[in-house]
Symmetry: none
Subunit: 209 residues, 4 copies
DNA sequence: CATGAATGAGCCTTCATTCAT
DNA sequence: TATGAATGAAGGCTCATTCAT
């Protein structure tokens, strides 16, 4: 939901903590309307600033989007990588944990709209697509592949192409994210990704065993 | 091939058979650039027609999109339903066959861009999203759910929520479609969905057993 | 003076003879305000068209300017060249005639504002400056130099660098043009270029003898 | 050198002596880009000062321009007047000397861009044009006219309208200044005003004799 | 005195849509 | 039926100008 700008006393006083507030506003607006359909006016209003103020911190509309990817998405990937690096249990358990962690980010988190955003704008902004692919997708898939590889090495899983398996792991999470951002609005019973992903991990682990 | 269904007088080479050619052009253009970024100029030029001519058959840009969904996607669903209705083999085999059939449509077919298109525009055109959901997604998921149900009833699969399982079936196909339309352009080795989907069915059937 | 758009019945009917009307309007507006300060809104209003209509015929504001140079200035140079080519009298007489002809174009004519325009925008639009220089200035100077050369050869003038002399011929005409477009507005006695240029030719011819 | 007139306390290296440094910066920037295309940001950066600081000394962008005319141009006129007042030689020699003096200012000097600037902005800033005309042009023309008058009175020149003759004197200098600021950039052989002006004075003196 | 931060107004450009023919 | 010509409504971006500090 897009707020009507936090009421501000009056006049000029406005201390912008920095670009972060603007990015937060942009995240909300882009999530709601998509990138192309978002007007900079909307972003500015959402942030409680003038349109021109956006250009104090960003060179263009697209630059805002790119900064958003870097600031809001990439850190999450790093958190996931740290989690995997420190893991000591079985590959299956790690898979389950990771799936839930990713889902918390990409289905329930504030960046839930990103997959949709990137998919929508990939062809119009190839640079952005490449950035997202390199900085987010490939790193996440690599993480998942490494787990599968670990499971295969440990005899937990049957021999399997880890790159393909990684995509199988991601696919239902992506599905859940997209469902939520595109269709959940009209669901009769509210969409709950948890049982879906539980069944997903169950089935996948069993299927890979 | 789109737009070949409506019977045409045969014989006299018309200037314009009707809306079908326009839709075919729109499909090509929308697939290339996305809906929002496609200019009606482009569609008209691709169809070899004046821009104004589009308005002889369609009320608006969005109406073209909607007609496209109806004409290009819905028939595919009907073909799939027919295939399932006539099936006599095992649920697992049907699943495998159906996955391949869906992938042929949605990954290799000319409507491969539709998932991306719908995802991109769902929030801007809620009516369209609802139409696609009702006419395409839910029918396809229902189809898959019925197969799962059949497999469970036959003892082929362990007891499983068929609605959830249906989503698990679809997810990697959707992934493949989106990958192809959004990222495959920059793949170093050309993206081949076949092995991914094979592994998918293998794993899923095993996991559901 | 910029008119308020010739009253037009009402509604949409408008037959633009072509880009010429737009260029004529642009000439008036640019002459009045200069290129940078002219808004496309003004040009459109002056032409009695919508702003968007300008883009049916020209790619950008600058393109309008360039078209203006080509269409409104270059033909004049060609007329001058023809006049010189056909001349049979003395060099001094030709000089006098040519000075008057140039002045009629560049001081009294509708393109009187061009020297000012080009001078004002030369640094902002180097391409345009180069075009004008090549297509107008150098050709005109070359014309004048050829006359001087002819006069020197005929013993009418003392030996003189024709390129330099050509610039001396032009300078007062340019002065008159600029004075008219920049300062004449506030003259107490209306500015009349004729006696100035007469004295100019007299003095110059005598000085070159 | 601009902005060196107002006495400064001597000794303590101040952060900002006052408006002079700002004007010097403005002169450089305006000369480079022209008035309209110069951003106050550029002027401020060139002066090593914040944009807001400009408003401590000047009311508006235009006010900076006006101050520039007064501070950078007018003193030059006064110097010329002093030179003429003290002259004891022939009118022809004075003419020659004065032409060179003016050219040193307006072709080679740091105010070389002023004619172009004034010409470009005359219609947008009529007040400025009037100021320049009164404070610079008319005084300089008056100076030249007085010399011509002197030469006519002394029998050195034939009877001639001194006001017109003054304009003939100025015209090639103006030409040289404009050529340098607008077109010299693309000259194949570097533009040298000296021979042009030498020929100018020679011819003119001979023509007026 | 000096500035960082912010803004309002404006301009070029685009595009879905319409109308006269 | 079909179109060329035209437009209204926006949207991204710029910049002179102004406060609070």
């Amino acid at each position: 939901m897009i707020a009507k700008a936090t009421s501000r006393p009056r006049g000029r006083p406005r201390k912008l903590a920095g670009p972060e507030d603007l990015l937060a506003a942009a995240l909300r607006v882009f999530s709601e309307r998509g990138f192309a359909a978002s007007r900079l006016d909307d972003v500015a209003r959402e942030a409680g600033v003038s349109k021109a103020a956006l250009y104090l911190y960003f060179e263009s509309k697209q630059a805002i989007f790119e900064a958003l990817v870097r600031s809001a998405v990439v850190p999450n990937v790093e958190r996931l990588e740290a989690m995997v690096a420190g893991w000591r249990g079985s590959a299956a358990d790690l898979l389950r944990t990771l799936v839930q962690a990713i889902a918390r980010i990409v289905v329930d988190g504030e960046v839930a709209a990103f997959p949709k955003l990137i998919i929508a704008e990939a062809s119009n902004f190839p640079d952005l697509a490449k950035l997202y692919r390199t900085a987010v997708i490939e790193r996440t898939l690599g993480l998942l592949a490494s787990i599968v590889r670990r499971g295969v090495a440990a005899g937990e899983f049957r021999p399997t192409d880890p790159e393909l398996a990684a995509r199988l792991v991601i696919a239902p999470i992506l599905f859940a994210s997209l469902w939520k951002t595109c269709f959940a609005r009209h669901d009769k019973v509210p969409f709950d990704p948890a049982p879906l992903l539980e069944l997903h991990v169950d089935t996948l682990v069993k299927g890979l065993a």
